[in-house]
Symmetry: C2
Subunit: 324 residues, 2 copies
């Protein structure tokens, strides 16, 4: 399998993408195709692997640019090259930690949407008390219409049925209360639409149940989904930090912490964003995975594994099949 890796866009620079790919190769073999500065990438690889390709470019799209405009004009930008190459049969998918907007624009203008899908979305896997819950959208669409959320629901259903073998997944709507009449204009309209939709819609889900695994898919407008995952991320980080303060408070605490450290670390890691590593951009005719900008090498490696699983299960073809 050949995966196109955009080496621009990660907060930690090219190194984290190269190291993440090498780490991933230890778990599952594939051919990384790095897109970026050839000399720099070769130096970073430092002979650790021999099975790789590099497509040289020094151009990239930053977070500050207008994504649609940049995608159209900057033909040599790493993410544009990735989308163009992905059209060739030789290449199986794309990983990028760069601008979400550019990724979305590339998906829409170069790969093109799946027929019958109006908007692409980021589907983030949340680790919960009962397996994985898919939150979608987490940031591709800032102002959604009810029809977009219905499409996200259909794509989420196909994704979970195929990638995680969850039969007839339970689909909920992120809202401020469980009652049908609760919410803003969008959630009220969406509730009415989903009740009639061809999916296992179980009603509204409050944000406090995002990680309890009550449902398999939580539908949200990209703005709200993004607020939810970043709030969760912030609370996790805060508590991990505060816990460290408790551990270092006294010698006795230090001793006790020594005993519990491993288990507590494993607990926090379970809910860490690095564990999931990234999210598929569902709805476009290319297998694309978005890693967080602040991803570490473990996150990149896990994102690559997720992407390859998504490719293996031919989810795009399955979504197309569902829509015909």
């Amino acid at each position: 399998m050949k995966i196109l890796i955009d080496t621009y866009g990660a907060d930690q620079g090219e190194k984290v993408l190269v190291d993440g790919a090498i780490l991933c190769k230890e778990k599952r073999d594939f051919t990384p195709v790095f897109i970026g500065n050839k000399e720099k990438i070769e130096k970073l690889i430092g002979g650790r692997i021999s099975d790789y390709e590099i497509i040289h470019t020094d151009e990239f799209i930053s977070n500050d640019e207008d994504p649609a405009r940049a995608i159209r004009r900057k033909k040599d930008a790493s993410i544009v090259i990735a989308f163009e190459k992905a059209k060739e049969e030789a290449y199986d998918g794309i990983l990028s930690a760069g601008s979400t907007g550019a990724l979305l624009a590339g998906g829409l203008f170069i790969a093109k949407r799946i027929k019958g899908i109006d908007r692409a979305c980021l589907a983030t896997s949340l680790p919960t008390l009962k397996g994985t819950t898919l939150l979608m959208d987490t940031g591709a669409n800032m102002d959604c219409k009810k029809e977009f959320l219905e499409e996200f629901g259909l794509m989420g259903k196909v994704y979970l049925e195929n990638v995680l073998a969850i039969e007839n997944p339970k689909i909920g709507l992120l809202n401020v209360g469980v009652e049908e009449h609760k919410g803003n204009k969008l959630t009220k309209e969406t509730y009415a639409l989903l009740k009639e939709a061809n999916m296992n819609f179980v009603g509204n889900i409050e944000a406090r149940d995002l990680l309890t695994g009550k449902v398999n898919v939580v539908l949200a407008d990209g703005f709200d989904g993004n607020i939810a995952i970043k709030t969760a991320e912030g609370v996790l980080k805060l508590l991990a930090g505060q816990m460290k303060d408790v551990f270092y408070k006294s010698l006795l605490n230090k001793l006790a912490a020594g005993i519990l450290k491993k288990d507590l670390k494993a607990m926090f890691n379970k809910y860490s964003a690095d564990e999931v590593g990234g999210a598929p951009l569902l709805g476009v005719q290319a297998y694309v995975y978005k890693a967080h900008g602040n991803a570490n090498e473990l996150a990149i490696s896990n994102a690559l594994l997720g992407l390859m699983d998504y490719i293996d299960k031919k989810v795009i073809e399955k979504i197309e099949g569902e829509l015909i």
Copy 2:
């Protein structure tokens, strides 16, 4: 000071409101005026305090009713009585754990809005690494306009300057990125408006910074603010539960946990919703505090203390002064 306490609407029933008021009286003296079933309330008090009043009613507004309609029609509902009584000089403020919608409708139709304010909002105090951050709105307005958020900002400024003596508080906008061009239609429009507004607007705040104390006020549409606090609540509850599992995993873990338990409990308590207890409904001409539906007696007691502080500092008069 006489505080009107709506005894209907808490998940745990009248008892939690009576017990919370009695607990609060140990910390600060005031006269609770319980509105609800006289016989039941007297039995719950059981002679523990003698300085109280009861206004009898068996009617209340539930979460399932249309709030505006119910406020207009149910003249004997506990919250309607509370708002009517609050107009009399003898009574200083209202505490309710009931329907947010009914509280808002009562505020708008009975107490009336403060002149110059279009929408009331719930201002929730978040405990952060550096003192309190006020998140507003957390659920009164589901679909906001940019002007509402500007008003929330002005009210938040006055509230913090007076209640917490924070000079020229830093005001941020809840958004999916820090860059000015980020966000949905509402946040983009609001950013442009706040740049020109008479407040210390410092730009966008990501949800992961809600509890780091970067700013003193975070402005959000009521839907988004509600998603954020409930996500945080859910993560806290999840981690507290998972931590218990770690503590009971082995005998050695149990011993170590015994040493750390007190400090860790204090850490979780600091961020618990009960610590704050409730939120003022800013923007109406009555001192109103909303406690969570699932409040315990500590939360009720803390909400009452917050309410009395809000009254002491004459925040409504100060907001009116600011708007003239």
